[in-house]
Amino acid sequence: MSESDATIERLTREEYRYGFVTDIEQDTVPPGLSEEVVRLISAKKKEPEWLLEWRLKAYARFCELLADEADPTWAMVDYPKINYQDIIYYSAPKSIKELGSLDEVDPELLSTYKKLGISLEEQKRISGVKVAVDAVFDSVSVATTYKDELEKQGILFCSFSEAVHKYPDLVKRYLGSVVPYSDNFFACLNSAVFTDGSFAYIPKGVRCPMELSTYFRINAAGTGQFERTLIVAEEGAYVSYLEGCTAPMRDENQLHAAVVELVALDDAEIKYSTVQNWYPGDKDGKGGIYNFVTKRGACRGKRSKISWTQVETGSAITWKYPSCLLLGEGSIGEFYSVALTNNYQQADTGTKMIHIGKNTRSTIISKGIAAGHGQQSYRGLVRMGPKAHGARNYSQCDSLLLGDRCGAHTFPYLEVKNDSATVEHEATTSKIGEDQLFYCRQRGLSEEDAISMIVNGFCKEVLRELPMEFAVEAQNLLGISLEGSVG
């Protein structure tokens, strides 16, 4: 092993920093999946009949898929079959009563989020930037900040459960309209048993004055987290939304199967950023979250824009393809991704850009970093439909290998049915350059700093798409695996 390999090995063995458990009394249903459980979740949420029916349809379909063993096997990830009867489908802190003011939130929960670096207090953060937070703890939302201030501008931001009661028409109109309950195996499971999530609605012409965010925390052992996020931007509206996730360190794997639906109407723009830091398992590959997520945005309006930015450093297994349906003429889809797999982590991630409307455009920038025994796959579909005249796509997928036992794979799918469409795809795979490392060291930088600097440079095109606050967090996260801060 060369000297730099030894450094990489040392750097990539940093411990997970968010692995603590909050000791709090939980209201938990026994493990197992059945129609009763679906009904129970719906009852606990006091849901209207139509939603229960929708869940039951999804449940019936999921049972069929399960009987057909239709769980997806095409991804380049390897894990034992999941027993869906072993999972707990609902677990919530007992202290949660009605969703009320922030003062009523259990101090234990507040301190949990504080420890995670998330402020649930409605005051300006040190940086001076306001961020509205919806905090989801296991199966429920425990607090949402700045709701009132946002409502003054007509912006609706609350937990999904609350939205079902307060804005049933909006939820009914858009739920499942981008990701139907039958869309795929995991989306189907989610549709049957989802417990909470976030809802945001930006009315016509409004530019959301602050970042909206949801912070997901898995706490209870043996539970799965199945949340659902729905964001609708009306004509000319703009919103930037952030999502973060962590979980305790446990030896068994836990399932997280979320669904995110975005809808952008004429001239609307949604920027959706994720910093995913679920527990990745230990250095021998034991434990960690299975992150099987369906995210899709529909650019329904003319000149609408949906932009996905993700930094994926956590999870034992990631299976995730945030996608854009480009329906509106001149609409734009973007996907910026950094995925880092270390130790025994596996990631099969990418995007789908489905060009349907005229002059639609999409950009894909994917940066994969594989270290340790990590396996990393980019899988992306670019489809130009027969009516996508003048549509354009540009994709670039670069992989960086750190160490000699990892793997990086690239699977683009380009399907073009229109002769005026233009598609360009480029991909490279390389090892972190010995020459680059030496150059930095000759200028006095330590090898750790040099690697960290080169990795951050490699990811720069993606990191700069993140809102400022998240960019710092993302850099730090990359740093946790590859040494602390930069510079």
Partner: protein
């Protein structure tokens, strides 16, 4: 989809009198594999974009190779492109000595070897293409009754190419199963052209298998030229093994056929092995052309460079899937892959799927894939100089194809290919 139609033909096939005993076992075993697997369906990832039910639903007949046929002779003469080291013609999969000129010991046929009393199983036969993975290859082996056999001895350089011509006799729904075996021994150098032509305007099915071994330090150019003019189903499986410091260049030219599927698999098994894979697919009307290539870097310091270009006019459909696999020990691999496509028709469609699977860390790999149309500015420029639109389009199409044609190692063949490409582009230009 049924494999039944082929069972009758399989049982009816009368083996060559001089054929060795092992052939029967090989064929029976292969047919069992074919029956067990059946025809591939679109549910299989490897066949996701190509539906072969039209082949499965047709009852094809094996030609009987009944002596001289004027149209066969015409087709064979039409394929000639200049001086060759040997020309071997196979009609309905069987060697046609009257139309051929062999180079004893180097370029001959299995049947000729058998007649000469040499009945051992030749080198790569059945070793490189796995009949369990490729039902069409299994079908080919099941109907194996002859094969082109090229053996370039150690240190020998053949200045002129070896020309292999495969044709079916005229008749309704003809099928033939060409088989090609190439062994380029250590430090030899040769060019082999496998040419597929039509002798009649009727529907036919050509199901070819090629197995190539390139020995240490050898240098082989292999041209796969599909220029059938009739409505043809063409399925080809090519597998090659490239040894230490050896080089293999394949040139795949898909210039005809209603449904064409090429599988090309190259294994670089020892240090310093190199392979170039050039390909051109030109589709018109409702033609479907599906190219799957796989290069497997199994040893350090290997190089692969792949360039497949597609021109799709009318409502044709092109598919490219290129896999580059770098095994854990294949350090210092340098692998490049490019797949540019040109769409010339409003109904034309292309699917491009380059894939990199990399398990070694000290490598340089890249791929690129583009889909676009002719540069309107360039067309306008040519028109402003007095060149007609159709002519301008043809010119630019030729220019796009030139990179692939220019790499073909024989001038006579290059000229023939260019003329064919021009003719096809010209017709598509007029049609649109």
């Amino acid at each position: 989809m049924s494999t039944l139609g082929f069972r009758e033909a399989f049982e009816a096939l009368v083996p060559d009198a001089a054929a060795p005993a092992w052939l029967g076992d090989l064929r029976r075993e292969a047919f069992q594999h074919f029956e067990a697997a059946g025809f591939p369906t679109r549910r299989q990832e490897a066949w996701r974009y190509t539906n072969v039910s039209a082949i499965a639903e047709t009852t094809f007949e094996l030609g009987s190779d009944a002596g001289e046929d004027a149209s066969v002779t015409r087709a064979v003469n039409g394929a000639a492109f200049g001086e060759t080291a040997a020309t071997l013609v196979f009609v309905d999969g069987r060697f046609a000595p009257d139309l051929s000129r062999t180079l004893p010991e180097v370029a001959t046929s299995l049947s000729v070897s058998w007649a000469g009393g040499s009945t051992g199983r030749p080198g790569p036969l059945g070793e490189l293409v796995d009949p369990k993975l490729h039902p069409f290859a299994a079908l080919n082996t099941a109907f194996l009754c002859d094969a082109a056999r090229i053996e370039v001895p150690q240190n020998v350089t053949l200045e002129k190419p070896i020309h292999l011509i495969f044709v079916a006799t005229p008749g309704a729904r003809r099928v033939h199963h060409p088989r090609i075996l190439v062994g380029a021994r250590a430090s030899s150098r040769a060019t082999v052209v496998a040419d597929f032509v039509s002798a009649s305007p009727e529907v036919s099915f050509c199901n070819a298998v090629t197995e190539i071994e390139v020995g240490p330090g050898a240098n082989l150019d292999f041209v796969l030229c599909q220029r059938e003019t009739s409505p043809t189903f063409h399925v080809s499986n090519l597998a090659a093994r490239v040894d230490r410091d050896a080089r293999l260049a394949t040139h795949t030219l898909c210039l005809g056929g209603n449904l064409v599927r090429n599988d090309l698999q190259v294994r670089l098994v020892a240090e310093g092995a190199e392979c170039r894979m050039n390909g051109l697919y030109l589709g018109t009307d409702r033609e479907r052309i599906d190219n799957y290539t796989e290069v497997c870097h199994e040893a350090p310091h290997g190089t692969s460079a792949e360039l497949y270009k597609g021109i799709l006019a009318g409502s044709s459909h092109g598919v490219f899937r290129g896999r580059v696999i770098v095994a854990p020990d294949a350090q210092k691999t340098d692998a490049r892959q490019q797949n540019p496509n040109l769409l010339l028709g409003a109904g034309a469609e292309v699917n491009s799927r380059p894939q990199l699977e990399i398990r070694a860390d000290d490598v340089k790999c890249s791929h690129g894939s583009t889909v676009g149309r002719l540069d309107e500015e360039a067309i306008f420029y040519l028109r402003s100089r007095g060149v007609g639109t159709e002519h301008a389009r043809t010119m630019l199409g030729q220019a796009f194809a030139a990179e692939i044609v220019d790499a073909v190692p024989d001038q006579g063949l290059r000229d023939a290919l260019l003329a064919l490409i021009t003719a096809r582009l010209w017709t598509t230009g007029e049609a649109s």
